[in-house]
Symmetry: D2
Subunit: 389 residues, 4 copies
């Protein structure tokens, strides 16, 4: 087990900026903590709100130099690109509809982007963003943070090495209950607003995490789906529940359930994968465990940093078995992978193959998934192909 994840800072901390994430924002704070855990970043600039005064106050809260706090991301990109010690990467943590616009000026200047999910609010924006990334040569890291959990790395490694045989079944779900009733909560505001969130409600906000996780672990491509999206709470404009049947390349089939109206579910992302030789089961709320059932043998409880767990998981673990790592450490792993990639790129080297993070491609897949789900559901669950090419 690696004690202190990736000790040593190579060329020093990555100078990081942030767009969005001002006072009261949830995910901005998560990104900041994640960036600090392994000491690979230093937050030095930000445009925390489109209201300059709010941005200024948030920057002060965070101890930033006043001249590195901006009222617009365009201005920020422009100035930071010219500074001698300007930011090397920017975290984009705005609502979805701003991701493309906020990322653009940085990408255009070759500044690496770490962006929250889903990629954008429309498939059209997603395509433009993907094209821009390709052109820019900058890295684009999408924070599908659940792929950072060590036991998810372990699951992927086991599938890849054939321990499960041919994958047949993928049962994935992501259930929450915070939208069971109409609510005036700030987070609920934009996440249920098509203008800011996009065409998907639960399917976009959490269904994309679920489908991404399934793809990450199994390495399979989703080929077609049949979706039944529904809104249970009156007056809500986007789905708050989604039932989706899945067909994967290679013949695997699956089910995806996303819901924000399932009382008693907090953040219940759960993945089960079954193959011809064995099964795996994992739940996000107890992330240090992975159940492994080799067919015909007793079920095993694999635990982070303990025996039976391989290098893919161990390299993103920090502390010994039984000392639970959580959501923030999983998120930090994405940040640390990003830092490793940034340093490699800056040094003109290949990104080491073990360094893994979701990219703009994963983001496009997610947007195509939302798009296909909405189309299928509007055609009463007809099977539709999923593809963005």
């Amino acid at each position: 087990m690696t004690i202190e994840h990736k000790t040593g800072n190579g060329a020093g901390r990555v100078r990081l900026g942030m767009v969005g994430g001002g006072r009261d924002a949830f995910i901005g704070a998560v990104h900041r903590i994640a960036s600090r855990i392994d000491d690979k970043y230093e937050l030095v600039a930000g445009c925390f709100s489109s209201t300059p005064e709010k941005s200024r106050l948030s920057g002060a809260d965070l101890g930033l130099a006043p001249d590195r706090v901006y009222g617009s991301f365009d201005e920020m990109a422009k100035r930071e690109a010219r500074l001698k010690n300007g930011i090397e990467a920017v975290a984009v943590v705005t609502p979805n509809h701003m991701h493309y616009l906020a990322a653009r000026p940085f990408l255009q200047r070759g500044i690496h982007v770490i962006c929250d999910k889903p990629l954008t609010s429309t498939l059209a924006d997603a395509r433009k963003l993907a094209a821009l990334v390709e052109k820019s040569g900058a890295l684009f890291i999408l924070t599908h943070n659940y792929t950072g959990y060590p036991m998810i790395r372990q699951a992927r490694e086991m599938v890849t090495s054939g321990e499960l045989g041919n994958i047949r079944l993928i049962q994935v779900e992501y259930a929450q209950d915070w939208l069971t009733e109409a609510t005036g909560q700030k987070q609920a505001g934009w996440r249920t607003d098509p203008a800011r969130s996009g065409a998907g409600g639960s399917i976009g906000d959490i269904g994309t995490h679920a489908i991404n996780l399934a793809g990450f672990v199994t390495g399979l491509s989703l080929e077609a789906l049949s979706a039944d999206l529904h809104t249970f709470v009156e007056g809500r404009q986007l789905d708050d529940n989604a039932h989706v049947l899945l067909r994967y390349s290679g013949g695997a089939r699956g089910m995806l359930w996303s819901s924000q109206v399932a009382p008693g579910n907090e953040n219940a992302l759960r993945l089960r994968v079954y193959g011809s030789k064995g099964g795996l089961e994992w739940e996000q709320e107890e992330p240090n465990k992975l159940w492994y059932a080799p067919f015909g043998e007793p079920k095993q409880k694999l635990t982070r940093a303990n025996t039976g767990v391989g290098e893919a998981a161990n390299r993103v673990s920090r502390i010994p078995a039984g000392h639970p790592e959580g959501y923030l450490e999983g998120f930090a792993n994405i940040y640390s992978e990003a830092a490793a990639a940034i340093r490699a790129v800056q040094a003109g080297k290949e990104i080491p193959p073990e360094v893994r993070f979701p990219t703009v491609r994963d983001g496009l897949d997610g947007m195509a998934f939302i798009d296909a789900s909405v189309r299928s559901s509007s055609r009463n669950g007809a099977w539709v192909q999923v593809g963005h090419k």
Copy 2:
């Protein structure tokens, strides 16, 4: 809590016969144990196999008088109906395709039938059987035994009394792994043979249990479904996995997953029901617990025979909380309910409203569910109405 379930035998034990269930049969032995637990039955006759010699040996194993052991069920029905102390009820525990034929001669003579599920192997047989039951005036009890679990009774009572508000979501699944590979096992023989099992594989054998349980707890009617049945093991003739989307009367939606190829799953029947005011979660493998999540309050662990559990559950409990009751006790509850109904009918009384058991109607619903699933799947998951009327 009731200590010893339904003490007192009223008019004495019900004289029971059995068709099927000879040596090596699994479910026949289960029925016999279930009939004994509460001392409401005495097994006095049987036709345990279509091979007379085998039937004779099984009868001897069970200590029956030789003249009450038969080589054909027709002969058994004929003679038992004429005996002064002939059987009052018969348990039909043959493979599915024989249910109708085996039950018929008994029903025609007014002998009550307790029959294993699914009802028959074809919807046509099911309809004939239902008509015959109606005409006979005899009781027909279908052993969807999972409805006998106390905490399932509790769940039903909570839904009925409105504690969950309007039901929105039903997530039900029944996963096993015993057919992960091709197997020569006796049970697998008939259960994967369309001639004996019917058009449904996993969807018939276990999917019907799942859909019945969902209907029992919520009281809702399944209106339409979209199914994706699949056979993963080469050479198998029936589905070994089924993914089904559900639409219920009143607007609830759901998902059903049945599988016999999910390694690590033993008998994993799991029901989750979510309404506008709360959620319930139950797993068959830990049947004495029911999770109750009133929206906005901490989740509660309700346990059999403990505080917070009502009369509907308590009347089918035998022993104190923490002393686990299991599968056989749940099954016995169906038998004891049947005995209560038989005694009521014999006395010319109404069956008390709290006495609950699945009937031929439930059996028809199950056959209609299989039929609809097969039809939908053959049409690539088109939504089809579910109805047997």
Copy 3:
């Protein structure tokens, strides 16, 4: 897996009588159900209460012939011993202080005794009873029912076969909460009364189960203990909580906790055994699971009737994995073992070595344990030897 436990009744059902266990008694009903499950017994006589009228009513409830229902156990023993088809065995289910007196007349007539635990209310009575058993030649089965659970048999087999290496640690506990407050409940009446229960409160009622289970699984002898018994509820005469340190033959050490005042604990008997090569963990409330941790390998979840479980467990299992067996089935296993032993003895054969049940020796061990605990506690936890020889 054995389907239907021990099919075949050999020389027919054992004719059983019962002393105690009238209306409202908890454990009498449990014994009756346990005797029926495997169809090895027929209840034909009883003295259900010391009040003849109550005894008569209970006998009628149970469908017994009126002339086989008695008002005194002496009369019952006398008459049954003379009947051609008199009882072959008697179940003694009275409060503890009557065990010796009730068992005596039957033992004196060579009638086998199945007796609830603890053995008696005093060590003196226990010794007399043991002497009487020896003299009588009859079998004496003590219903430490938890030793009947299949996964407990599995645990014993694993320890015996050396899979755990040298046993070092035994952590056993039995916690309940039903005596958290003073209560007028009938069960509480005699169980907290030294005259009827003996010198031990929780230590006698449940502590003896715990220590018996530890000994059954490990095969080790308890040599010495240091106890801290305490009564938390004012006015109660017996301990409602016990903390005991244990030293076993061979150098193993342990802890035992019994409590009836631990809110949230229903019937929480839990055994953990650790050796130089591995550990085992088991909880009574989920009895079909046994956790096995071979040192240096992933923890395994062994489940009843599934792979990885051996013959000692399988021979006392009835139904497939995932179909939970519970408390009553575990209890029934003791009854079925007793029946096998009775039939062997009657046939002049050795009791087969795989047939296991607690005897009067175990009962003496239990009484010695209570006695030692009370002595140690009265001497402020001084270490005392445990021995009844």
Copy 4:
């Protein structure tokens, strides 16, 4: 729920130094991560090893200025105290026997000390250290990190507010398995060496965490104990297992088990507290849950940041329910509390009452606990008073 714990850095980050914690050390890395999570500290100096070259390399790994990396802690204290921007606090993360010597020069210069546990290797050192702290006026924070978990704060709040009634029982245990066999591991080296670790093996290394946690949650003082310490692995000099009976002020009783030879246990710290009105159960490996059993009501699962959880827990939570926080976040809470206290003291203000952290007093209690355990065990478990005054 507070999003981003304690946003705003007041007078900027606390300048932190570290003694110990060089390459390969486990706990040093933990302290560093914990100090970064909430952005309240900046590591600016260190003496990471008593070998100057090793210290230098570790400092370089961590990106420290070379002139702030020292080869002796005396030199470090001297120089840092004179620097204009010298450290304000130092983390002492050496083996136990060096805690006193390492902390001394900093305390003598008024530099606040954050020190790993147990306090020292001898009770004599502990007393000297306590006296020194008192004299210095500097803060001394002992990282009994488990008191930082939000649900432990919740438990304490519930006990304090009387929800459990009078506390009767404390069952606490801390089991590991990493010393099941003799091992050459670096951590095992000093932790099983009396010269560096002190007189307690498991009782010192993990037993002190357990007893501290019990005291923190219940607020009760341990008055007396009876201990049975044992060494199972041949050649080991310190106990690897401890069984302890506990008596608390106010009449509560308890049991403590610490073990490093219990296969299958990773870091299994578990606390159960029972009072006259209810019970609480918590396990470190799933720290976001707290089981609450109000007597006579269903058991509740309280979860971090969700309904039913109060301000004491919420103020040390960062992210929403269902997003697991872990060991590092709990540890970070101690660091953040320390920072709040440091800033208050520097400003001449009272430390706010809600700010909680273990102090040198807790450290003395822990040393007295080790001392009493060793004394009791050497007198064959005689009850001894626990007190350091």
